[in-house]
Every structure is written in C-alpha cells, then in structure tokens.
Symmetry: C2
Subunit: 225 residues, 2 copies
C-alpha cells in the first residue's frame, strides 16, 4: 500500500502549440507552481490529433491540460485549475474577493479586447480594420494605466493578469508590422522586462521572429497576402 502511494505521481500532459499565447499561459503557470509536465505538440495547421479530438471534443483547440487522464480546456479556466489544485505555492490569484474579480476582469479584457481585436488586424487585409487599430491602441493604453508603475499587475507579486498578458508581448512587433501601426507603451515594456526576468516566462515566451514568420505564413494560407 505504501509503495502504491509512493508511485502515484501526478501525470500532467499539455496538448500544446508552441507559439500559442494561450498555451504559453499554461506553461508559465505550471512552471511557477513547480509542476513537471509533458508537452504534446499539436499540428494545428494540417491534422488535429486523436488526442486533441478526444480530450477537447467541444472546441477541438489547444491548450488542453490533461491531469491524470482528465482534460481541462480553455486557458483561463486551466489557470484557475492550476491555482486551485496546486494551491500550496505561488498563488496566481490574490485572496481578496474584490482583487480576484479585478484580476479576472483584466484577464478577460486581454482575451476579448486585445487578442480578438489584434487578430482581426493580423488576419485582415492591409489597410482594413482602421477602427480595430485605434481600438487596440486604446485598449493597450488602458492596460498600461492599470499596471502603471507597479512591478506587476497585482502589485508586487507576479500573478494572474501577468500570466494572461505576457505571452502577447512577443506579438506586439508583429501587430506593428502587419497593421502598420506604432505601439508606444513604455510602462508595458518595463513591466514585460520585469516578467522576463523570471525563468518561467523567459523559458516559454516565443521568439518575435517566429511569431512574425508564423503570421506571414498564416496570411498566405488564408489568402489575405
């Protein structure tokens, strides 16, 4: 019985796509918690794997965290799960209910007001989406106001909003080049550099050139370039 308990280690697998901002969130969170995990790289461009289709039949999307055989999908939901299951170290969410609500609000803002808007730009025809370009700049401005001069979004501790936003930082130069726009947010740069001091972040963040090459190839595939 003792040996059974000793050999029962958590099996943590992530259905992953290296450049995905949503997958990077999960990898950063697991690294912050000190959880060992195995990556299963998905070929999203050609064929979705039987694993992905079995583990996320509803959305058929990465990331999927598979913990001891049980799947969890949607990156912000996975972050909650990681924070709640491995709750003994490096909390991602603060303890105060109001601060938790604020963290969730800005993480949701990243998904709906940064990513969704930016995606229209980087998958759109050049010189279209002028309204989205203004909106993206305005929304990043809001995030800059929220972080202000604090080290991290939640204050002195790296947490939920930092994990949610930092993977997008390496996409900013692609937004600029593809969208022909200028993102001038010195406080976000200071914040991002602070985040990049952490191994959990620097280890998993994408290379800017890889992001740009991926987007150019994607634009060719969908026929906008």
């Amino acid at each position: 019985m003792l040996s059974l308990i000793l050999t029962m280690e958590d099996e943590v697998v992530l259905a992953d796509f290296g450049l995905s901002m949503f997958c990077i969130r999960v990898k950063i969170a697991l690294a912050e918690k000190g959880v060992k995990f195995e990556l299963k790289e998905e070929d999203l461009i050609h064929t979705k794997s039987p694993l992905l289709l079995e583990m996320n039949p509803v959305h058929k999307k990465v990331p999927v965290l598979i913990h001891n055989g049980k799947p969890i999908a949607e990156s912000l939901i996975i972050l909650h799960y990681i924070d709640e299951f491995w709750n003994d170290k490096s909390p991602l969410l603060p303890t105060d209910p109001y601060q938790r609500a604020q963290a969730r609000f800005w993480a949701d803002f990243v998904d709906n007001k940064v990513h969704e808007v930016a995606k229209k730009i980087w998958t759109g025809k050049v010189d279209e989406h002028e309204a989205e370009k203004k909106e993206l700049i305005g929304n990043l401005k809001k995030l800059e106001e929220v972080v202000g001069d604090k080290p991290y979004f939640g204050g002195d501790t790296f947490g939920f909003v930092d994990v949610a936003l930092i993977p997008f930082y390496k996409w900013f130069s692609t937004y600029e080049k593809v969208g022909k726009l200028k993102l001038d947010f010195p406080k976000l740069v200071t914040w991002a550099n602070k985040c990049l001091e952490r191994e959990s972040v620097s280890k998993f963040l994408s290379d800017e050139k890889d992001v740009y090459d991926f987007v150019l190839a994607h634009r060719k595939r969908i026929g906008v370039d």
Copy 2:
C-alpha cells in the same frame, strides 16, 4: 465603536436591465445567498446613465454589481465574486478543483456557444444564418447531454451552470419563432422546471412574451425586419 460596526451594512446595488440574461444571473445568485440588493434599471435603448458610465467605463454594459461603492462587471466574474464574498451559504461552485473547472467550462460554453450563436439568429435577417441554427441546436443538445437525468448541472445541488444557463430558457421560444426552428430538448425542459421551483429563479426570470416583444422591437430598430 460597537454602534459603528452594527450599522455597517453591506450596500449592494445592481445596475440592471430587467430582460438581460446576464443581469438575471446576478439577481438569482444574490437571492440564493440571501443578499439584499437595490436595482438601478438602466435605459440601454436611449441613454446610458452616468452611474453605468462611471462604474463600467471599459464595457459600459450591465450588469454591474456595486458593493459598498466598488464596481464589479461581467456576469460570470460577478458570480465568482458573490460566491467568494458571501461564502457562508449556498455555494455556487463545487469545492473540487476539477468539478469547478467543468462548471466554468460549461458556463463559458453558454456565453460563447449558446448566446453568441443565438444572438446572430435573433438579430439576423430571416432565412440567413442557417449554419448558426444548426450550431445552436447542436450546442443545446450538448448541454442536454451534460445535465442528463440529474436534477441540476452539478448533480443534486443548484449551482454555477444552472445560474448561468437558466435565464436563457425564457428566450428559447423567441429563438424558435424568429429563427423558424424547433428546439426539442425534453431533458432541458425538465431541468428548467426544476430550477423554476426555486423562488430565486421564478422571481427574476423573464416572461417569454416580454422577451419576444423586446426582440421584435430590437429587430425593427436595427432594420432587419
């Protein structure tokens, strides 16, 4: 000092729009927790109030829960807040991290795979959106499979997914009439009737005719009818 403590009651205000499914979620959750609250009905059609613009400057949308002067926006985030602040009774989320993740997943599914799809239908031209009609039916079918023969989505206890989905039930007949489609989900009907036995639900759910009239008026305003 004692009298100060005794008179410090929670002030709970909801910036509300009676027919909004998202506002109804919040009212049900507050009622389940036994929290007294004041409603401020917003006139979303004509002018957004200074209160709404001040309390939710980012999205300028209801619902906004204002708790002792501090605003919380986005209905699922508000549900989390209510569950975490008033954590002494009627838990909305289960305690197990995996079950919590599942509840969050299906609530998110209601927003993105039921509401977003249905809205395209009820704001769209008649005979457009055939793909969305099939998708809506398929997605409600999935929800029916999830609840199955259980009293509630989480099992024996009324909880997070029930609160998230039940306000949409009174929109089903409008989806059918406007979309010229048939929603035949007997297990969802059984589940909804079980939910409606609760005063927290029956008190705040919309009247089907009010929903239909609102949608017809909305369609006239946006010029699709």
